[in-house]
Symmetry: D2
Subunit: 145 residues, 4 copies
Amino acid sequence: MNTDLRERIQRSFDRQGLMTTLGARLEAVTEGEVQIALPFSTHLSQQMGFLHAGAITSIVDSACGYAALTKAPAGMEVVTAEFKINLMRPGIGQHFLAIGRVQNAGKLLTVCTGEVRAFAGEPDGPDSPHKVIALMQATIVNVAG
Amino acid sequence: MNTDLRERIQRSFDRQGLMTTLGARLEAVTEGEVQIALPFSTHLSQQMGFLHAGAITSIVDSACGYAALTKAPAGMEVVTAEFKINLMRPGIGQHFLAIGRVQNAGKLLTVCTGEVRAFAGEPDGPDSPHKVIALMQATIVNVAG
Amino acid sequence: MNTDLRERIQRSFDRQGLMTTLGARLEAVTEGEVQIALPFSTHLSQQMGFLHAGAITSIVDSACGYAALTKAPAGMEVVTAEFKINLMRPGIGQHFLAIGRVQNAGKLLTVCTGEVRAFAGEPDGPDSPHKVIALMQATIVNVAG
Amino acid sequence: MNTDLRERIQRSFDRQGLMTTLGARLEAVTEGEVQIALPFSTHLSQQMGFLHAGAITSIVDSACGYAALTKAPAGMEVVTAEFKINLMRPGIGQHFLAIGRVQNAGKLLTVCTGEVRAFAGEPDGPDSPHKVIALMQATIVNVAG
């Protein structure tokens, strides 16, 4: 993947008001995979004080969408058509990392899977000890840019 | 549905930090159906300036969860196990309304469907002219309270 | 919907080897809605003797796909990109009816919902006493014919 | 996993009328993973002559369910609550293999992912050259046996 695409994804990410509101940041962009980090904050909680499913979903949806973009034909934009998410464990942790991965990139549709990892403290990297709290399977459409 | 349950849902909603952060409010609670309203704000946008899929999903996920709670056995809490959402149109509008409805309430699992409506201006009610921008199908689990 | 489309759907249905193998028949075709009927048979069972989820899914997937076809631009074919199904009750009954309905037909993608009804005996019509045993939400793509 | 469980899965599989009707066979059972093989036959086709989505779905649904059973508490049975499947490529091939894998096994719910591989000829094993034609994400419930 060229630097242009990486910068293009960063610029797009920076224009997402919701990502700023949540406090999410673009952590890593490689061909076919994008990672988005989110520190816990009480302004993102559900009624028990854990990370809200809506926040969990928001970061992994964005990670899948941008992963698809790394595989889209030149000049195309992407739009998420749909996704499904299993919330396997409560959103307990101080740091969260959403990883979106392309599984199949067609001319028109891209299928991605995503996961969200919860870390008790600040992780050294994506593979620091964690629990996978959510799994996503998403369909993204290439559209004229 | 008794007033107690309505108040219990309002109290739970008020404890959801994310709903406050988004600016969402609990609009209507009846047996088997819950509505959550969300005015548009740029702090909720995606990169094109429309309502972010994460915000759309957050309100309809909460609407489905609380709808399930209206049908849960006394003393039980609910947790969303999973959901699927189709984002059928861009999140263009000034006001949004998420409606969650129970389709089947079992002893253990409740299946809900949800939709999100977009209104060009301030709606007079849920059936004011609108476009349905998203459809959800969700599975909610009853858990000991 | 014109008669041509109805006949085109019947011809397509008749070419589906699996529908013949299951014993399914095309029951009704109207614009935006298709119904497929399936009598129970032990050759369709799961391990408890009820209708297998695979058979339930097969008929409602086909009903959704053909419903989408009734709304596709002239000359286009349809392909199911993905679906999600909740199996809400066991497949107990003598007759089953899958109903697929278009919820939103875009230029490229059509979103359908589907349900499967179980009847204790031979139903007089789709609204004879029944239980809804499954709910589907599907994404169908228009492709060049 | 003990031999008893393997035999119990084989016996359950043999009672599934639909698996016999399709011509599917239980290929491999290990802890957390089950494989089901299906040779192509015209009696399983869709209207273009390829493997019908319903047949693809049936084998990977069963593979996920039995994978969940390998992780279920002793004496429990499993029931599929719901699944989502992306049909990424047409069902073209002479042999198909569905693989179901447990991703998270809770006390009540198990989340599995599944894939279906298409082989041009008779494969030497699961990793013989193939295309992944479908991806599933499923939720399975443990129920009293």
